[in-house]
C-alpha cells in the first residue's frame, strides 16, 4: 500500500559547526517532517535552524522569528521568544555527554512556495547536565521565497556528530 509519509533525504556530519540538508524541499510536497534523533555536541546549548535559498545558499538575514516553551524536569518552565533573528532559535537543547542526545520532531510548512513565508512547529526532548529538558516551539522565516533546504546549527560550539532526516508529507 502506498503511503503518504515519504523519506526524502538524510544528511550527516562530524566535527562541523552546522549541517546543511540541500535540495530536500521541492514542489512535490507542501509540508515536511524532520527527524533528528542523535547529536553529540561540544557545548551545552540550544540548536537553531535556518534555510537555504533557491541557489542553495544559507539565508542569514535577520528575518526569522521564534517562540518556545521550555519544559524542564528540574526547574520552572521557560518562555523564550524573539524576532528579527538570523535563525529560528531554540529548536532543541542537548548537553555534552555522549549519552545526552535528543529527540527532535519538526514540521516545516510551505518552504518551496515562493509566494508564502516558511513556518516551523516542533517539539523535542533532550538532556542537559541538570536533567531532562524538552520544549515546544514555533518559528517563521519572514520572506516569501523558494526554500530548497535547511541548515541545522548550534548556538555555540560544534556538532561532534549529527544526522538529520527529512520526510515529505504528501
Amino acid at each position: 500500500m502506498a503511503t503518504n509519509l515519504e523519506f526524502i533525504k538524510s544528511a550527516s556530519g562530524t566535527s562541523v559547526t552546522s549541517l546543511s540538508v540541500t535540495d530536500c524541499f521541492s514542489a512535490d510536497y507542501d509540508v515536511y517532517y524532520v527527524s533528528i534523533t542523535k547529536t553529540d555536541v561540544t557545548v551545552q546549548t540550544y540548536s537553531y535552524v535556518r534555510f537555504l535559498d533557491s541557489g542553495g545558499s544559507v539565508i542569514s538575514a535577520s528575518e526569522y522569528d521564534y517562540a518556545e516553551l521550555g519544559l524542564l524536569s528540574y526547574g520552572s518552565f521557560g518562555e523564550n521568544k524573539n524576532t528579527g533573528l538570523t535563525a529560528i532559535q531554540h529548536i532543541d537543547l542537548s548537553g555534552t555527554s555522549t549519552a545526552q542526545g535528543i529527540g527532535n520532531s519538526l514540521y516545516i510548512f510551505n518552504p518551496y512556495d515562493s509566494s508564502s513565508y516558511t513556518f516551523t512547529a516542533g517539539q523535542y526532548s533532550g538532556h542537559s547536565s541538570s536533567g531532562m529538558a524538552g520544549g515546544k516551539n514555533i518559528g517563521v522565516h519572514k520572506s516569501a521565497e523558494t526554500i530548497t533546504g535547511l541548515n541545522y546549527l548550534r548556538g555555540s560550539g560544534n556538532f561532534d556528530s549529527v544526522t538529520v532526516n527529512v520526510f515529505g508529507v504528501k
Partner: protein
C-alpha cells in the same frame, strides 16, 4: 513516528467557503489514530476559525467540547487557555488570519478514538501561524469531546467569515 500515513481525504480551498469538512462519506474507520495537516490557510477577512467533530457526516454541536492549551507568541507573555462544555473547539486550532502578506495558518492535529462508540474522542494539536497583525502565534495542547460515540470526521469553520485559500488533508496512521 511509527507506522505510515495514508491519505484519506483532502480539501483544497481556492475560493471562498464558510467551512471545510474532512471525513464523512470519505471516512475510513480502520485506523486508531488520524492526522490532519492544515497548511497556508487564509481567510477573506480577519477570522478565528474553530472545529468540531462530525457524527454520520453531521457536525456535533452539543456543548461537550473541552480543551486546554498553551499559546506561544512573540509579542507578549505566553497564555494558558482552557474551557469546558463548549459547542466547538474555539480559538485553539487556528489563530486569526486574513490575506495580509505573510499571514497564514498552519497546523498538525491528531485525532484519537474516533471510531470507538464507548469512549470519548480526543484531539492534540500544534499550530504555527502568522496572524494578521504580523505576530508569530501558535496553540499547543489537547481537547476532548465528552460523548461516548463514534465520530467520522472533523469540520473546520471560518467563524462567520470565509476561508479563501489553503489545504486540509486527513490521514490515517497505519500500524
Amino acid at each position: 513516528m511509527a507506522g505510515s500515513l495514508i491519505k484519506i481525504d483532502e480539501e483544497i480551498v481556492t475560493s471562498a467557503v464558510a467551512s471545510v469538512t474532512l471525513g464523512g462519506a470519505n471516512w475510513d474507520s480502520s485506523y486508531d489514530v488520524y492526522m490532519v495537516k492544515i497548511n497556508n490557510l487564509k481567510c477573506d477577512v480577519i477570522a478565528s476559525p474553530y472545529a468540531r467533530f462530525t457524527v454520520s457526516g453531521t457536525p456535533d454541536t452539543s456543548a461537550n467540547y473541552d480543551w486546554a492549551d498553551k499559546v506561544l507568541r512573540t509579542d507578549t507573555t505566553f497564555g494558558d487557555v482552557s474551557n469546558t462544555n463548549q459547542t466547538n473547539f474555539t480559538e485553539i486550532f487556528l489563530s486569526t488570519v486574513d490575506t495580509v502578506t505573510g499571514s497564514a495558518g498552519n497546523a498538525i492535529h491528531y485525532l484519537y478514538n474516533m471510531n470507538n462508540s464507548s469512549e470519548y474522542s480526543f484531539i492534540s494539536f500544534e499550530e504555527t501561524t502568522r496572524r494578521h497583525s504580523g505576530v508569530l502565534f501558535g496553540h499547543q495542547g489537547g481537547g476532548v469531546h465528552t460523548v461516548a460515540q463514534a465520530c467520522d470526521g472533523i469540520q473546520y469553520v471560518a467563524n462567520g467569515q470565509n476561508f479563501s485559500s489553503g489545504t486540509f488533508t486527513l490521514y490515517g496512521l497505519k500500524k
